[in-house]
């Protein structure tokens, strides 16, 4: 007895064995990783999915179940992304292809973003978010904001209000990591959650 799952592929409904589903998902993930950064990647993936859906429909009888063998067969027909894209890239020049493949192996570039830090706020968390963005001491940024009107930079009030309205708050763990300029990786998220847990525990 095997468990089956019902899925949709490009507008068609299918029943699929659990193991077959896992294989199919792995393949799809592979396509996704491969094409995500390439031009029109989403469109290519969509086209490939439509074709796979067609192949499944043609090869399974009505109300039939897609087996693991069928998935293997269809994946073989479509080929692995490295097989069909490699050849595509020789045209663009070898150096470019090589550069791209090394960069895709490296972890994602750290991208810092300006968020309001609502975990450490006086009003809206603008100052502490800005401090995290600029790698400055939060207290120093706050003092600067408070002192600016005395040096006839009264515009700082409306500026603060606009920033409060416009800058998103760092709510999710991923956003908090981005705010600090740390990589959004599973291990970093885990570390962050552990830190928060420790903080909450320390309060009681």
């Amino acid at each position: 007895m095997k468990k089956t799952i019902s899925i949709h592929i490009a507008g068609r409904a299918f029943f699929i064995e659990e193991e077959a589903y896992e294989n199919l998902q792995a393949y799809q993930q592979k396509l996704e990783n491969w094409f995500r950064k390439r031009e029109s990647g989403a469109e290519i993936i969509e086209d490939i999915e439509a074709r796979m859906s067609e192949l499944f429909a043609a090869q399974t009888p009505a109300n039939g179940v897609i087996t693991a063998d069928k998935v293997r067969e269809v994946i073989e027909t479509m080929g692995q992304p490295e097989d069909f894209s490699e050849a595509e890239e020789e045209k663009a020049g070898d150096t470019e292809g090589a550069r791209e493949s090394t960069s895709s192996q490296l972890p994602l570039r750290i991208r810092k973003r300006f968020f309001r830090n609502i975990d450490d706020k006086v009003f809206g968390g603008v100052c502490s978010g800005l401090a995290a963005y600029l790698n400055m001491n939060t207290l120093l940024v706050r003092i600067i904001f408070v002192l600016l009107p005395f040096f006839s930079v009264g515009a700082v009030f409306p500026v603060y209000l606009v920033l409060w309205l416009v800058v998103p708050a760092a709510r999710t763990t991923a956003q908090k990591l981005e705010m600090r300029g740390e990589n959004v990786t599973v291990s970093n998220i885990e570390r962050m959650i552990r830190e928060q847990y420790e903080k909450v525990r320390a309060k009681f």
Binding site: A10, G11, R12, F35, R38, E39, S40, E43, I44, D47, I48, A50, R51, S53, E54, A57, E76, T77, M78, G79, Q80, P81, D83, F84, S85, A87, E88, E90, K91
Partner: protein
Amino acid sequence: MRKGVLEYCILSLLSKADAYASDIIAELKSVQMIVVEGTLYPLLTRLKNDELLSYRWEESSQGPPRKYYALTDKGSAFLQELDQSWSQLVVSVAKIQQKN
């Protein structure tokens, strides 16, 4: 090299009649031009981005609508150029082969 020829084949096929991806695949497979089907899709998308091809959605009697590809004016002009350079190439290669 093979890629360039493959592009040429696709454009030639589409100059005769508009087709959707699976028709093109069947044609190319029947003459052993492609091994894995996935090869075709990045190519079609690139040709489309280069405005050599255009596509439209067409309802199909079986299943979801299909993407039908057609040659654009730019595509036909490009194909004519390719036709010329192809015949030239064939002549040149034939000459070299005869010399040996």
